[in-house]
Symmetry: C2
Subunit: 449 residues, 2 copies
Amino acid sequence: MTDRKILLSEKDIPKQWYNIAPDLKTPLAPPLHPATHQPLGPADLAPLFPMALIQQEMCADPWIDIPQEVLDILKLWRPTPLHRALSLEKAIKTKARIYYKNESVSPAGSHKPNTSVAQVYYNKKEGVKRIATETGAGQWGSALAFACKLFDLECQIYMVRVSFDQKPYRKLMMQTWGGIVDASPSKKTKYGQALLKENPDNPGSLGIAISEAVEDAVGREDTKYSLGSVLNHVLLHQTIIGLEAIEQLKLIGEKDPDVVIACVGGGSNFAGLAFPFLKDKLKGRTNPRVIAVEPMACPTLTKGLYEYDFGDTAGMTPLVKMYTLGHDFMPPSIHAGGLRYHGMAPLVSNLAKDKVIEARAYHQKECFASAILFAGTEGIIPAPESSHAIHCAIEEAKRAKEGEVIIFNLSGHGHFDLASYEKYLSGKMEDYEYPMELIKESLKKVPKV
Amino acid sequence: MTDRKILLSEKDIPKQWYNIAPDLKTPLAPPLHPATHQPLGPADLAPLFPMALIQQEMCADPWIDIPQEVLDILKLWRPTPLHRALSLEKAIKTKARIYYKNESVSPAGSHKPNTSVAQVYYNKKEGVKRIATETGAGQWGSALAFACKLFDLECQIYMVRVSFDQKPYRKLMMQTWGGIVDASPSKKTKYGQALLKENPDNPGSLGIAISEAVEDAVGREDTKYSLGSVLNHVLLHQTIIGLEAIEQLKLIGEKDPDVVIACVGGGSNFAGLAFPFLKDKLKGRTNPRVIAVEPMACPTLTKGLYEYDFGDTAGMTPLVKMYTLGHDFMPPSIHAGGLRYHGMAPLVSNLAKDKVIEARAYHQKECFASAILFAGTEGIIPAPESSHAIHCAIEEAKRAKEGEVIIFNLSGHGHFDLASYEKYLSGKMEDYEYPMELIKESLKKVPKV
């Protein structure tokens, strides 16, 4: 009988992260200083990040050792199971074999702790006492609070106000791990104060929260900043997902996958699963097809421009070359909060520009329908973000030829997103496709570089 | 390096459940008809349960085969990991080795699906179309909704009104799996209608919800009743936990445990871990010490009487010999909702009466303190119920001699219980020790048999 789960033991956990940068077809465009537009050096990033992470951000080695202290903590939940979706396959009568990597088993419930543990480790090693960050839906904030708790660092989280108010459970999770959580815009930063003066009811956005966290970190000697996606070193730390998956498929004698699928917001869970599968493709192989799935309501890869733009709303971060909808693009409040970001990781953008990967956008209601099918077959209630990958996998499986192998990333569970399930089940959820005219408006704000 | 997790593969999942009944020192007292007080026969239980479960309830064989169809679904998440609590051990500087069985990895987040899947399977096999049940905090209701979804049965859940209002996420989880959830007391039953007429704001209790579910099942041809704890067959299905744990300890060459710990509400997660470890002890061995941990606010084993009593409030269920605080005992609303039950499984009660197991009661605040220590070391935020086992394990580990082995059951995660963490962290949580005079009052209502 075919096993439902393919497990590795702790000794089989990857010992190195895979850095895709040196394997890219087109070299990565350098990040630029937000004021001078000159390429950044390590010293420019030093107020924000510890030097070890800056080196990883700019590294040209394809393999980077994972410190033993990081591995030791990752082993609390890693290696994660690779599931064969036997019940889902049966329900949709597919000719394909579907696998999913289950990142929902981490303490914070998503792939995010793969990088938070590494980031906090390097910060601690360089004497940092306190880390500031932003969080939208709360996945990243809870992952960082968890890691800070384990390494005994203070964790300051600026949480987008609308999530702060609507998602009390994620906030409580951060607080249970000792995180200090403020609704953003907050009174703790000058940028937040200015926005609140303008509008005391400002609902906040991820871009605003990033600006606040950066201001906080730059203004305090004991504090650095931490980001949960987009940057090269963050994506690097996530490659442990795909490296494990490759070993797991080998273990059961499965062939290389035909299709690799993950959702994209900033790009980190996608990179985590997909990059290790791209190594050979970048050297000339045609397989696998790799699909990045985004929401119609925030169609960065499918409708954005590939340009230099800011990572935040206030224009305080470096300029990076990426697909962007414009740095003050305000996506509608779809339920997949983790996919509401105006930009896309430069590494993922580079691969999309070079057509190494494909992009696809779906409406949220079709994704929720697939999420409920998944919950009723495989058992796990997925995060709304992950439901985009599930929906794509189901679509691909339905058109698949006999024996095709599809693998997707189940980036997290939906235990804190059940209010959105209620909205879907009660028929109150609406789809939203961003009008191209509005996208064109916000794209006009992309700086000329 | 010592592994943090001991994993079994799916082929190593136990193929039989362990039935402790034939190994008891004192034979189990038979259940009695609520009206006639005569011992029940299988026919008396037929309106409530399918015959296969009634046979298990009364079975004298020590081993019962697990159907392949049940195993196949359990493999969605089983075997569950046995964790070595390395980080917790370090934090409390114990001389003991601490292990915990992680039942939080199931789709519903607790041990409950171990029995819901088996129960729904047997119901389906006997042609049942619909199952009615009660739920307090929601762990059981979501486990049953999950299993009904997989086997395509309708699931009617009477959820204690105070939980229905205060725990919307658990309710939404049940609905996501297709469960029909009503606040209890409800208008769907005569008993519920009568209570609502008396008091439209009746907050409900587990005993009331049981009465409603039983009335529902008895009144419809297509419907049976299902219970998430207390009964022999429910405890039987949970023994897969301890059977796996024994194999996992063997796998790493660990000695037999010195102390086995689990929390008790109705008794099912306790039985699941502990019964397989008791098999040899019932044949004369002195090891291990086995501790059932209950809350001070509902001290069934430590302050109740060992008498025949009803399982529900209305007196509709059979009379069973058990430790009880009286069937209309109304425990204060402590946060460990799963431990708020006036009775205790007859099997667990029998073992406590014969001093094969020990019982201990803790205040909720000390349990929450231990839960937060656990979350900050092992990473997992535990259910308030499980925190009682954690606290006991920590207490035992602190006084342990060099090399003692302690194992406890992490019965579930606390993702839907974070509001109670907030109450603890904000200093607003209160301890409550039930006054002996009030217990004596409710004990007077225990029927004379």
